[in-house]
């Protein structure tokens, strides 16, 4: 007999390890390590560029939830999401139904509504700023002309968040619309025929019997993606308001940015990041679960 060969299981494990190794390493280095680093930094008092750091346990988190700015930031973000998601989904669906039923010019409408989604928001924010200018902006001029009350939209604590939400809706609408249009296209024509023969031939009946149920999966997807994007709102806030006035438009990502890169409180910023990651993760898991359970028909 020659050299005893290792048992089959070990050999397979070995070759599997060799084959998967490089990809695994890459994954570790690019994905998991940074996240791990964030977790480590979050329990220290490290300041960016500082030569020393010490372990502070959960102090950063305690400080975080004791911080009025952070609490305002969380509240504002949730409020923003609650404004943007239903409006984007509702308007997107309504527009998709309208465009689908009008038939002609479908491609044109689709393109027009999709433009904001494709445009760089930084550039578009400038346009919004001009539109919303308290004295020379088109919005206030128009309101004035109609004899309606005007506002300093981006500088007033009570209007700034709804105004940002409107911009967020404007930006996300095209995305929702395109997905809904695709979803409508995918509804089998036979189902409408069957519904018609079965007696469901009114607009409302067609909607409730065929269209809306068949759009269930798409709607779920649009809701989750829109919510995720709304949670990540940053560029409009940064460019138009910088979280002001008086933190009335402070949102999570903006807080994170300011703490980490302006105040250089890296440990504190890492703690904000972890809170943010948790929210996003919960949403993503929710999406996976709901998509699997409720709205998959086959």
């Amino acid at each position: 007999m020659t050299v005893p060969r290792p048992p089959r299981g070990t050999r397979e494990l070995l070759s599997a390890g060799i084959l998967a190794g490089p990809a695994l390493l890459l994954l570790l280095a690019t994905m998991l390590l940074p996240v791990l680093a964030v977790f480590v930094i979050a329990v220290t008092d490290w300041q960016f560029g500082a030569g020393h750091l010490s372990f502070v346990g959960l102090d950063n988190f305690v400080a975080l939830f004791g911080d009025a700015v952070f609490r305002a930031s969380i509240t504002n973000t949730v409020l923003y999401v609650c404004l943007v998601v239903p409006a984007t989904v509702g308007l997107g669906l309504a527009l998709a139904l309208l465009i689908e039923s009008c038939g002609r010019l479908r491609a044109f409408y689709r393109a027009v509504h999709f433009l904001p989604y494709m445009a760089t928001l930084a550039a578009m924010a400038v346009v919004w700023e001009a539109l919303l200018h308290p004295t020379i902006g088109v919005v206030n001029r128009t309101l004035q002309g109609l004899g309606w009350p005007v506002a300093n939209w981006l500088r007033d604590e009570s209007t700034v968040l709804p105004t940002l939400a409107v911009i967020g809706i404007w930006q996300g609408l095209g995305f929702a619309l395109v997905l809904f249009l695709a979803g409508l296209k995918a509804v089998p024509r036979d189902l409408y025929d069957a519904a018609e023969v079965d007696g469901a031939d009114g607009t409302l009946d067609r909607l409730t019997v065929v269209t809306l149920p068949m759009l269930g999966p798409v709607t779920m997807f649009v809701v989750i993606v829109t919510a995720l994007r709304a949670f990540e709102v940053f560029d409009t806030v940064r460019i138009l308001t910088e979280g002001g006035p008086a933190h009335a438009s402070e949102v999570l990502l903006h807080t994170l940015y300011v703490e980490s890169f302006e105040y250089l409180r890296t440990g504190y910023g890492a703690a904000v990041t972890i809170v943010f990651l948790l929210i996003v993760m919960v949403l993503t898991l929710l999406q996976a679960k709901v998509m699997d359970r409720r709205v998959h028909y086959s």
Partner: protein, 390 residues
Amino acid sequence: MSAGVVLDRVSKRFGTESVLADVSLEIRDGEFLTLLGPSGCGKSTLLRIIAGLEAQDAGSVFIAGRRADRLRAKERDIAMVFQTYALYPHLTVAENMALPLKMRRMCLAQRLPGIGRLWPGRKAVARSIRDDVAATARALEIAHLMHRKPGQLSGGQRQRVAVGRAVVREPSVFLMDEPLSNLDAKLRVVMRAEIKQLHQRLGATILYVTHDQSEAMTLSDRVAVMHRGTLAQVGTPQAIYADPENLRVAEFVGSPMINTLSAIVASPSGVVLDGVALPLRTGLPAGGAVTLGLRPEAVSLAPAPGAGLLNGTVRLLEHMGAELLVHVALDGGETLTAKLDVARAGLVAVGRAVAIRPHLDQVLVFAADGRRLRCADHGGAVPASRGARA
């Protein structure tokens, strides 16, 4: 009047393409009539016009003696079974079957989710619907599937549910658009028998669309053969098979396909095929071209070459169990398929020369334009099995 369907010169075009041209047809009360034709000939369009899902450009549709042209689909007292079944994927089997009843028996307020339950009288209606659905489900043996979604059913079960959704309403006319074409061959034969039984049990009028001639032949009281938007022939399955009006019907019906051989008219009472004189009366002047239609079972093997026999060489043998298909290349260049009793297998082998005897009484003669020539009056010209033509 009866619960049949009458089509009066129905025409339809899509853009510039004429899909149906002057289709007139009467489907009698309680009849099982099949629309048979190749894909794209307009069968589904005709069915959809009858259902009210498509509007005809000209002509009228009468259902149960009522002019239906201005009626919407739900007012026509018809039910339809779709090729794709078109079950609502988000509803259970029970809900799928209940939907047409709900739409009919409940008012809008009662159908509303949630608050509809509070509406007076809903409970009694809901119970009547539940009972009717349960009864239909029992009859179709799908009672154990009631709480599943269509996605959790096999093809055959879906098909049954689709039929159930149509039956539960008790319409006077059923329209079925290739309902078996998505099933595998074995299941198709089973479901075919079930549909036949359903027809016998309900006594309803059924208009059934298929491109499968075996379905048409086995199921129907009468078959309407469609070709490019017109009806080529309407008749009993036997009549369509044994006594076709034209070459196209003869070619479309029958498996294996009818043999078509070109022949020259030698005299009003004789033709020449591959140099073989056959005493077939055409009534045409000498020199004209005709096509002879020979069913594979309308020929037999002759022991030796002789007068009135076609000579050729065996090219291919196909054993079909009780029968043997012999593909023969005739000396004149044409090919012919003969269906023989398998007991004759010893007489043929690939490459062997054979003599084929056409049964003159079963030869179908067609003019150059495909029209059937019926003036053949030699002995026994008319097959005994010939049925009544519509």
